[in-house]
């Protein structure tokens, strides 16, 4: 695979391509960088670069009971979603990977449906259903809805781990007398645990960042951070949100690095 650069085209001839590509990369990353810098501004005016530096927006975030409560709700829901979605998704990925069931394709499509169905439709549908069974504005309701949205990511991540794993090892364990569960736990799981943990991290952040469904089904005491942010943004551009955004960006970086690190750990 060392042929990547073997085309007889010099870097100089490619300069325009690097320039263009660089600009697009800048377009992708600049907004996050600007928000992080602005969050340390001392002024309400959101100038860039800030004239004076301060932590006042972080103080206003951590000092506000409303923001703190919303953050706690989001963390709780994301942790619970992770705890529920990871085993469910792993089990499903395992069964799909064996692939001996008829309709495996259809099952796969159903499990990943929430990636394709417009999320607004899921939001309205969930609200409608929850209104009838009394799950609106409850943590349980949020966890269930977020689990359904996180499930496809866990399934896809674990599935990709399983595809690079030799299932014969498990067959050997089972032929030596282990039952399905202990063969999986003792032979397969240790070898695909990085995919499982990555899937769990993806489930966490999917839940934590989810906006549209939460907008419909959360409220009152169970208002999530994203719902509160969305409503705040509708009214005005509050610099406190720059501080919250920075925390969310840092969270994404930490979780992605963890997933990346684990992926390399193999």
């Amino acid at each position: 695979m060392s042929v990547e650069n073997s085309l007889p085209i010099s870097h100089r001839q490619r300069l325009w391509l690097y320039l263009l590509g660089g600009l697009v990369l800048l377009f992708l990353i600049a907004p996050s960088v600007i928000i992080v810098i602005m969050s340390f501004s001392g002024s309400t005016l959101l100038q860039f670069p800030p004239q004076e530096w301060s932590l006042r927006w972080y103080e206003s975030y951590f000092g506000s009971l409303e923001w703190r409560d919303a953050t706690i709700v989001s963390v709780k829901v994301a942790v619970m979603t992770m705890i529920v979605a990871t085993p469910l998704g792993t089990a499903a990925a395992y069964a799909i990977n064996i692939g001996t069931l008829r309709l495996t394709g259809a099952i796969n499509a159903l499990l990943t449906a929430s990636l394709i169905i417009p999320v607004i439709l899921i939001g309205i549908g969930t609200f409608f259903l929850y209104a009838r069974i009394g799950l609106n504005n409850t943590l349980t309701g949020l966890v269930i809805a977020h689990t359904v949205q996180a499930l496809p990511l866990v399934v896809l991540t674990v599935l990709s781990g399983l595809r690079s794993y030799d299932m014969n090892q498990e067959k050997v364990a089972r032929s030596l007398g282990a039952n399905l569960f202990s063969a999986f736990r003792q032979v397969t799981m240790p070898q695909i645990r990085f995919s499982i943990v990555s899937g769990a991290l993806f489930a966490f952040i999917t839940s934590f960042d989810e906006v549209v469904v939460s907008l419909f089904i959360s409220g009152g005491e169970t208002t999530t951070l994203t719902r509160r942010m969305f409503n705040a943004l509708r009214d005005q551009i509050d610099p406190t949100i720059a501080a919250i955004s920075t925390c969310l960006i840092v969270l994404s970086i930490v979780l992605l690095s963890a997933a990346q690190f684990l992926g390399r750990g193999r």
Binding site: L17, S32, F128, S175, L233, I237, S252
Partner: protein, 309 residues
């Protein structure tokens, strides 16, 4: 144990004259299938209960008018009321604009990534994946700050003397397109990059050895081979645009009403579930039709991008 027995069935049993307790093997295979079904069922049940049931319910609702009579009124109004027609036109206009912008920005980027040495490419890829995993709200907020009247872009342009009056960049069509392009771009770049990586460099070298210029090699060999990846990215971006809510709601300034926003208004504000449901049904139908059409045309997996996340 049963797994072992199943494979025995395939190898040994066929060669024996008498069936090797075939009943027991069949029972084993059945138990295996039930076991797998048991592993799948919690996830499937959840998806069924939270996605399939409510959407089916909404579909059912959309078939009745306010008086509870079976009617097509909820669908007929899409053709009669100008406001609905305007929403659809706006939605498709935004989707076209965002998709085109994503192609124009994303193709060169994916091409560059596919040509860079692996290490450099993986560093550049972080710039694509990090925004992908950053909250849509955070990114929309960033663009609001950057594009507003007294925002970064306007104040810089005024300082540089390029313009004297701030440009209207946020709370309008332009703002929605810029914000959405930023969010959709990775959905195009990731599958396109993945498909470009599979293009065999030897074919390109052969072309150049036979005397084709770099431009001709790109035009006649590389580009045609990248079309399936490009098409898959385009379809994903277009479909996601049609149902997108957060960015147009925050950056449209109430002037750019897209499909999803209309659904939210109809159900939350006016509590007209039949009409909202009908909008949802049509949106879902258009989404599935586009994905199906694409799969039929190219035989590709339209959802491939998700495994890139």
């Amino acid at each position: 144990m049963s797994m072992q027995s199943v494979s025995l069935q395939n190898t040994t049993a066929g060669r024996l004259d008498r069936p090797l307790n075939a009943d027991a093997l069949r029972a084993d295979a059945r138990r295996e299938a039930f076991g797998l079904l048991a592993l799948l069922s919690p996830g499937l049940l959840l998806v069924f209960a939270v996605i399939i049931v409510p959407i089916g319910w909404l579909f059912w609702l959309s078939l009745f008018d306010e008086t509870g009579q079976l009617s097509a009124a909820n669908y007929a109004r899409f053709f009669e009321q100008a406001s609905y027609i305007r929403t659809f036109v706006t939605t498709f206009k935004v989707a076209f604009a965002v998709t085109s912008a994503c192609v124009l920005l994303g193709y060169p980027l994916a091409y560059m990534l596919s040509q860079l040495p692996r290490r450099a490419a993986s560093i550049c890829l972080i710039f694509v994946i990090l925004p992908f995993w950053t909250s849509v709200l955070v990114r929309t907020y960033a663009w609001l700050v950057i594009l507003q009247r007294k925002g970064l872009v306007n104040s810089w342009l005024i300082d540089l003397g390029v313009i004297s009056q701030p440009l209207p960049l946020a709370n309008n069509f332009a703002g929605v397109v810029i914000g959405m392009t930023h969010i959709m771009l990775p959905f195009l770049v990731l599958p396109l990059y993945a498909s470009m990586k599979t293009i065999d460099t030897d074919i390109l070298r052969a072309g150049m050895n036979l005397g084709a210029s770099p431009a001709a090699t790109f035009r006649q060999i590389f580009f045609p081979l990248s079309v399936p990846g490009l098409a898959s990215g385009v379809v994903i971006v277009f479909v996601l645009c049609l149902g997108f809510f957060v960015t147009p709601a925050l950056m449209g300034g109430g002037k750019v009403i897209m499909w999803a926003m209309r659904m939210e208004q109809t159900t939350s504000l006016y509590s007209n579930w039949g009409a909202g449901a009908a909008l949802g049904v049509v949106l879902l139908a258009v989404t599935l039709a586009l994905l199906g059409l694409f799969q039929w045309l190219l035989g590709a997996r339209a959802t491939g991008v998700w495994s890139e996340r």
